[in-house]
Subunit: 319 residues, 2 copies
Amino acid sequence: MNLMDIYQELKDDITAIEQELYRSIDSNYALISETSSHLLKAGGKRIRPVFVLLGGKSGAYDIERLKHVAVALELIHMATLVHDDVIDNAETRRGKPTVKAKWDNRVAMYTGDFILAQALARVTHLANPRVHQILSKAMVDMCVGEIEQIQALYQWNQSLKTYFMRIKRKTALLIAVSCQLGGLVCDAPERVVHALYRYGYYVGMAFQITDDILDFTGSEQQLGKPAGSDLRQGNITLPVLASFKDPAIREKIISEFKSGTPDMPKIINLIKQSGGIAVAKTIAQRYLEKARQSLEDLQAVYSKKTLIKITDFIEQRTY
Amino acid sequence: MNLMDIYQELKDDITAIEQELYRSIDSNYALISETSSHLLKAGGKRIRPVFVLLGGKSGAYDIERLKHVAVALELIHMATLVHDDVIDNAETRRGKPTVKAKWDNRVAMYTGDFILAQALARVTHLANPRVHQILSKAMVDMCVGEIEQIQALYQWNQSLKTYFMRIKRKTALLIAVSCQLGGLVCDAPERVVHALYRYGYYVGMAFQITDDILDFTGSEQQLGKPAGSDLRQGNITLPVLASFKDPAIREKIISEFKSGTPDMPKIINLIKQSGGIAVAKTIAQRYLEKARQSLEDLQAVYSKKTLIKITDFIEQRTY
């Protein structure tokens, strides 16, 4: 199954949004255009625009309004990627050199700021204060999430709750808001808008957990970085925390890190043996089930079928 | 003359804004609150809030509306300071250790993002799309200015025009927008709002040029950093560019830098001898004169007198 097959019907609108994205980051300043379009060309799944459009299908679908929201949300997401690169000291993302690696941290930071500012400029085309409120609140929470993530690095004693809060702020929130705003700007009923938000939240949680699983199960070719990279950088995710249920495995993993030169293939095997991956998969499935349940209130329209197909896709995702 | 004496009448409202600033950066997350309030306590002249309020005096002064704008603009300014610290590798600002020095670059970057997001959340209290448009456009331009500043570092051949464009984006724009939005949210006539913008732009240019002069003429105690720090970090400002009119001085300064260990006291003396400071002062005065002229259209109300007093203050500013 390919994600694009699922939303074939949206293809033209997605293409239009892609073009708008290019236009948004186009500037008279060579360095900015180059830096941003470098990022844009690295691609991505454009998941947020897709959710915005599907949200819109639950109301009076209006591509003109949806376009502004979709572009703004994808730009916000891109800005966080640029700033993450500064943070992660990541040398590659999706197999391409990161903005940071290619230029330097300082330009990367301001390019992120620039993309963010463009996102906000874009959304002013919609004279809807609620859109601004929801977006700015989401941005505040996302920043909190980023700082929490830094604080949680190498914190072996963190709770599952800390992890769930973190991925909510890091990933689920923006997907929830994508679904919500799609419905909102197309005047979907309040009840439907709320259901869309909840769907997006649960899907976002499952999506991030799946990402965190793939960091251990994917190949370097699939991931565009070596397996176990997140953990290597101190990001302790659900498969790791689940594996810690076995104190012996916990001990082994932590001492690998304390040695200063953790043996990542060995650690990955430990996590797989512990059943940590299986536990994470079960939890992701539970979130997807909740996502499906959130849609019960929606009419059996196109978007409902597609939204459910997306949950199936995430369940079967292997890269 | 003290700036506070000038706007004595605004004292209560400035205090109220100061409290709102504290509230805005207060969060449930210790690290963020600590990082931000550290910055807030370092103080600052709160110039942007003052201009917002004075702009408001040209219309139907409404502190409730003005407060949101003033807080948002000061938060945006604070966010740029935090990000500048990441950029500048500055160890101190106004004599206090910078956020970057005290924690690290990564937290500083996200704290800047957080403050920016709070600024935007704050301005959503005003259901006025034009305010959003003006603010987001200013933010885009400011980011462009920051990237331009990086590109211009150590570019000895840059033109005066490049410098003026840079300080417009870096400083003048946000002051112009402060004056403009103050008038706008208090329903001042369009013509007055435009005059306020122009006033703010000219004052902002003069203000930054004065700052750039003081970098050479101020003492370390006054500046909170050694004299010549901007130039030491490659930031080529008006006094330097003006001194380059004399090819011999230009040659000497550049070769000091090419040596790898520039003798800053020597360079500062060269700039002073060249008359570069005097030229910069004359240009600053010309901007202030234009600022005063911009006000001609305004009625002889309280704010006009105060706005003119501020231009006098900048003219005489020694630290």
